[in-house]
Amino acid sequence: MEVIFFPLIVAKMSELQDFERRLSAVIERIYNGSAKLAAADRLSGGASQETWLLSLTGTDSPPDIILRRSPAATATTPESNAIGLSNEAQLIAKAAEVGVPVPKVLYVLEECDGLGEGFFMSRVSGETIARRILRDERFGQARAALPGQCGTALAGIHSISPTGIEALKVSGGLDQLKRYDETYQTTGIRRPVFDLAVVWLQDNAPKPLPPVLVHGDFRLGNIMVDETGLASVLDWELAHLGDPREDIAWMCVNSWRFGQSENRLGGFGDVEALLSAYAEAGGASFTPADIDWWEILGSLKWGIMCMMMYESYRSGAAPNVERAAIGRRVSETEIDLMNLLEKQ
């Protein structure tokens, strides 16, 4: 076995050394030789997107920065909804201009860097794990401040001009309903609660609002929170042009309340506080009932996403226990849909 695998291990090692060599070259260039790469640690990410913590030594550089990248070979596929990392970097820079708390984009990778698509950004300290944000005592003050801060941030995001970012596609509520319904139907599995929800959403769709820039995945898990509240809005890859109510409702979907169902907004607060801060910061005036339709759509979308993740197990693409198990979470969204639909 050692004989067979040895060349593979050597190949992997030289790939890593190559990666670190190229990384060092870029870092020395952007800091004019005053900073050096001390270490690169992979933090997280799937096969197509990686997050790295880069430790630097030098006088003019921060002690660490973050690299988000997708290796060239697995760049965004056409059928994916993701906008790609260089577009994400542009969007984060635009968000900073309108005062949304985001990491600072330090450098966007170019083809000649040989590192794939991606960007360097500042490291923002804080917590992203929802259960800690919702339960730890040290986030008590943050939880009280978050509804208002999220409202202000969303009003800012929805005011961003999308000019110059071609990858942003228009996707309204009914567009998404159609796409997710098609996906559900291709599985060949019948879950009548989903049919009920699809038909109800079709028949009760609110009048669409003029499209704005929508974050697309604004919820606990994708925001950095410190003791004072919202420190940074992360994970912009699902941004698109759509209805502002989508972002507000997504954070309210019961799956994203992480067990604290009694607080409609993300398990930590009241949506009313978000809505008044949103309007005060220049967003439209919505009532809590205005986002009901979008919350139902959100639960349906998450249910179908869970079905798709299970499909990736069933097809053999991702043969691990987590992907298999997520198929048994579809029923969570069925019960949420029933709880919501019987109130309508």
Binding site: V193, V199, R257, V321, S331, E334, N339
Partner: protein, 126 residues
């Protein structure tokens, strides 16, 4: 076939092994997957115990709701319910439909994720 130990007992024995022996030895991604595996074994145990009753109750409700007393196959009954929902022959205005779907969802979540917050909320409202 012998049934000593039963499938349920075997699954419980494996779950005890994962929880008490394997999991404390693991870290990082393996520990995460072990926790998922342990939850899956819990689901299997509950599924073994509840499936027969749940299926029988779901079948009886569907036969009544759809007026198909002779159809025994659950998947056929559910396909027919989906078809009628899509054709708008039955809708959320039907209290019988809503009650059936809610009972079915409650029974399913009790097996899949018995500590899910939405289940507690649903039980409060029944």
């Amino acid at each position: 076939m012998y049934n000593q130990p039963s499938v349920a007992e075997l699954v419980e024995a494996v779950k005890t092994f994962v929880d008490e022996t394997a999991m404390p030895e693991l870290t990082g991604r393996s520990a995460f997957h072990a926790r998922v595996a342990s939850n899956v074994l819990g689901t299997i145990s509950r599924d073994i115990r509840a499936r027969e009753t749940n299926d029988a109750e779901e079948r009886a409700r569907l036969q009544l709701l759809l007026d198909l007393p002779d159809e025994e196959e659950l998947s056929v009954l559910n396909d027919e319910l989906s078809r009628r929902l899509r054709a708008r022959e039955i809708s959320a205005n039907s209290a019988k439909l809503m009650s059936h779907l809610k009972k079915t969802a409650i029974a399913q979540v009790k097996v899949d994720q018995p500590s899910y917050s939405g289940l507690l909320q649903a039980l409060k409202e029944v």
